[in-house]
Amino acid sequence: MRALETTELTKEYRLGFWPKRRKLALDRLTLAVEQGEVFGLLGPNGAGKTTLLKLLLGLIFPTTGAARILGRPLGDVRVHARIGYLPENPSFYDHLTASEFLNYAGWLCGLDAAARRRRGRDLLEQVGLAESAAVALRRFSKGMVQRLGIAQALVNDPDVVFLDEPMSGLDPLGRREVRDLILDLRRQGKTVFFSTHILPDAETLCDRVAILNHGRLLGLGTVQEILGGSLESIELILHDPAPGVLQALAAFTTASVRTGDRVRLELAPDADVETVLAAALHAGARIISLNPVKASLEDYFLARIKDAVATAAGKGAGGGEAGRA
């Protein structure tokens, strides 16, 4: 049984009063997430990430298509006992303290009083809010609210965790802690499905990613599959090279940048590394490092979005045909 699968899931909003405008927020999205995966949903603002999560949580309803979470169809709230959800920019009750709120969340999940107390204490410890357990939530900073949001998503020890921009509002230490938490959830065999526009987080954490833009799926697979494993270039860094060294290597170099006493040379991806190194050493160069440069998820992401925009512009110029990327 899969953790999640969507089939041609589509969401169209009707905006305005009269006449109503239609906005396609999610366009026939089909994807599947296996149990135990850490799955990243990438895309710029307005890509449809939050729409997808709200559809999965039953907060909004699909226009067409279907989805199943742990084998159960959308709208079956029984499955919510096995999932956790952190909304984007979460908001809580000002009149409660952190431990009271977790107690409430646990109560809604059917935990008994003792389990709620124990779970609340453990989770506050886990997200670094143990010392703020009795502080009213109105006094919480944005980062503290985000941490509490993560804690409440885990209150029922869920099998599948949906996190909408979990790093939002966190300082570097907080982001590191959330990354560790996600990795810890993976170690426990949980499925984590999170949206983000912070690409290095996705590269570090995700088994697979999906890239969305304007509600359309632009790419789906492991980071390696998406990037193709091909080299973008080779990077050679030299220590304070003499002009003769740079001249000797000019034939192999596609770009060079000097920073302080270091020079970074960019070589073509198919450059004969042994020949380049021999030429450099022969000219008296002091080599600091030689590294393959692979395409980053960020490069891929920007390129695909650029392609999609160009395709859409082309179609628009060609008579505005309906279509999809």
Partner: protein, 258 residues
């Protein structure tokens, strides 16, 4: 059931923390002042005036709470997006609506119970003793509670479909109309037009009859309400509240929480 109780208790706690029960202080001051002022008036009149004042205050304070908290019960959860935290748990939308409704009813019951205790304290202080006829105000309080339950159900319904300002206008308008249904019936009966007669009859059947619960004059004179009237009014309130809350659930189950 457990989840409905959790939401109801949370709603009650929210009302208490947001200082809704501060109205009790105003009520206490009002009753003490009434006790002091009416102490100088002749015995029979001051008791009637005290009961009238006490029951009116209980009704008005309850009305204000029922309307002004009821109209934001669901709206506030949606507007502040706190509803996402609730509905992402194994909570059906119907349970959420029922929990919010029962939570505010619980707030009103506790609030009314404390006011009633204060009222009886002042009455006992004024009269020096309490007898069987003094149970009449208690029955009137029960009717006030039935009325407040209906008002909460109306406010909750509007709270799911419109903003608090509009919900307040709609709820208060319905409250006023619901208190004038007797007049509406008389108007229809006296009218020569069959259409007007039919319309007034239909409206008086469909609209909530708040006026049926608000007559406190008999209680002030120590007249007990007949048992069958208590039963029929209780059934009417329960049935009407059930229809209103069910309608709210049907609407809320189709509502998109963007």
């Amino acid at each position: 059931m457990n989840r409905i109780a959790a939401i109801a208790v949370h709603t009650f706690k929210e009302s208490v923390r947001e200082k809704v029960l501060y109205n009790l202080v105003v009520f206490a001051i009002l009753m003490i002042a009434a006790g002091l002022i009416l102490g100088g008036v002749s015995v029979g009149i001051n008791d009637i005036a005290l009961v009238n004042l006490g029951l009116s205050a209980i009704s008005v304070f309850g009305l204000v709470i029922a309307v002004f908290i009821g109209i934001s019960l669901v709206w506030k959860e949606i507007e502040r997006r706190t509803v996402y935290n609730i509905l992402s748990k194994p909570v059906a939308r119907a349970e959420f609506v029922l929990g919010k409704f029962l939570g505010l009813v619980l707030t009103l019951v506790v609030n009314t119970a404390i006011m009633t205790a204060g009222f009886y304290l002042v009455l006992w202080y004024e009269k020096g003793t309490l007898g069987a006829p003094d149970l009449a105000p208690l029955e009137a309080v029960y009717f006030i509670l039935l009325q407040l339950t209906l008002i909460v159900a109306v406010a909750l319904l509007f709270s799911t479909i419109s903003s608090p300002v509009l919900s307040a206008v709609f709820t208060l308008s319905l409250y006023v109309i619901g208190n004038l249904l007797d007049d509406l019936r008389s108007l229809g009966a006296q009218s020569g037009s069959a259409a007007l007669r039919g319309l007034s009859r239909a409206l008086s059947l469909v609209l909530p009859d708040f006026g049926a619960f608000g007559d406190i004059a008999p209680a002030a004179h120590g007249q007990l309400i007949p048992g069958h009237r208590i039963l029929t009014h209780s059934l009417y309130a329960a049935l009407y509240a059930t229809v209103l809350v069910s309608s709210t659930i049907l609407i809320f189950e189709r509502r998109e929480l963007r």
